[in-house]
Symmetry: C2
Subunit: 214 residues, 2 copies
DNA sequence: TAGATTGTTAATCGATTAACAATC
DNA sequence: TAGATTGTTAATCGATTAACAATC
């Protein structure tokens, strides 16, 4: 049960969580793979297959307890932890994430933001301080930061990533739109390419008025 | 050559574009599937297979002309068009997209933004006017809007989407974090789930310090 | 117990990789 | 021409679906 969980499965887990939360909020207590599948638009087989990567959540003849399954998946994803995160770059996107993104709901916690603008440095955003980028390395080291969120201009992406990784960060959530060159072993990188997403939408929209989603 | 291009291929096309642009910016004129593959971290076979979904871009014994291949893929993605887009919801994320996102580089064009806040309505953001949401439907109809970008609170997502689709929008770029219930045939939906992305990063970061990306 | 639904194995399907003949 | 590299077919691999025995 601990051989190697496929990429596709991992990427589906957060979606399960969302739908289970939805069911829970409606007061639903149990769900069968068939019901969940029809809500989510996937097969019951796939659900059972996916869940078995982790362990026997269900009960034969009954189905799955919504709350229990939700917690099981959350545990598998490590949502109980509090990964310590910093935002690097307080442009509009960095600001949007700092102010509106629910880090806690993803098993994370924002602990600081960094920028170079003297108008921003020294103040705070939301509940966290805004520091100068020159303090990035020492801050990461001193505060055991786990994740760096890159929301700065593309040209500075590689530098910031290298600095963060050098100081001990283990994960990079990269919004700069450029695939990172940095590739330290033991560092996980999640590239968010918004333009890829819009281009994909454009493709489907034009071709036959076809659907797509995830 | 027009049977049905797989999802996986479509999702890879924007990435090809990015790397080809990079090569072009370095003055590289030709590239072989082997070279491109090693830069992008995928196999030469996959590249040749992918590209053949569209048409004979390459030249045997030579490779691919970077600019030509780039344009070929761009055409396949429909990047030449100018999809007309509106942003609905001018919170921090909507603002970030309105001000910083390069719609033109994705074959789109931002034509207006909508909000309910009287402090925002009537002004403009970047180069486009900010209108009241009550004008959304008529604006979409009158201006042949193709895409609605949803950056408003989750609770209003379904309503806004339904209104936009009813008025003629064909694509929805959804940042609300909730899978849309609206499912009109002929409407394409691209859900951007930032929290899924961070959760996935968290998973890989914790498990063995393993990599992942796309 | 009978009915339902899981866990899990087997079958199918699709996607990736390898191989190689065509050809520039 | 000889060398390189594509386009394309065949082989492999993995992921999804179907089936069914185990069991609640």
């Amino acid at each position: 049960m601990n051989y190697k969980i496929s990429n596709n499965v991992i990427k589906r887990l957060p979606r399960y969580i969302r739908y289970l939360d939805l069911l829970a909020s409606e007061g639903v207590q149990k769900v069968s793979s068939g019901e969940l599948g029809s809500i989510m638009g996937i097969t019951a087989s796939q659900i059972r297959q996916d869940l078995n990567c982790f362990g026997g959540f269900g009960q034969q003849g009954y189905g799955y307890n919504v709350a229990q399954l939700r917690d099981g998946i959350a545990a598998a994803l490590g949502m109980g932890d509090r990964l310590r995160a910093v935002i690097i770059g307080l442009g509009n996107l960095g600001k949007a994430l700092a102010l509106n993104f629910r880090f806690e709901e993803c098993g994370a916690e924002l602990v600081a933001a960094f920028d170079v603008d003297p108008d921003k440095v020294g103040k705070s955003i939301g509940a966290v301080p805004v520091l100068h980028v020159s303090e990035l390395e020492s801050f990461i080291r001193d505060n055991a930061v786990d994740v760096a969120v890159l929301t700065l201009p593309q040209s500075m992406a590689d530098g910031a990533a290298a600095c963060a990784v050098g100081a001990g960060v283990r994960g990079i959530w990269n919004f700069t739109g450029k695939d990172l060159g940095v590739e330290l072993p033991g560092t996980s990188i999640e590239n968010v390419h918004l333009s890829d997403s819009l281009l994909t939408l454009g493709y489907y929209l034009r071709s036959d008025g076809g659907k797509e989603t995830r």
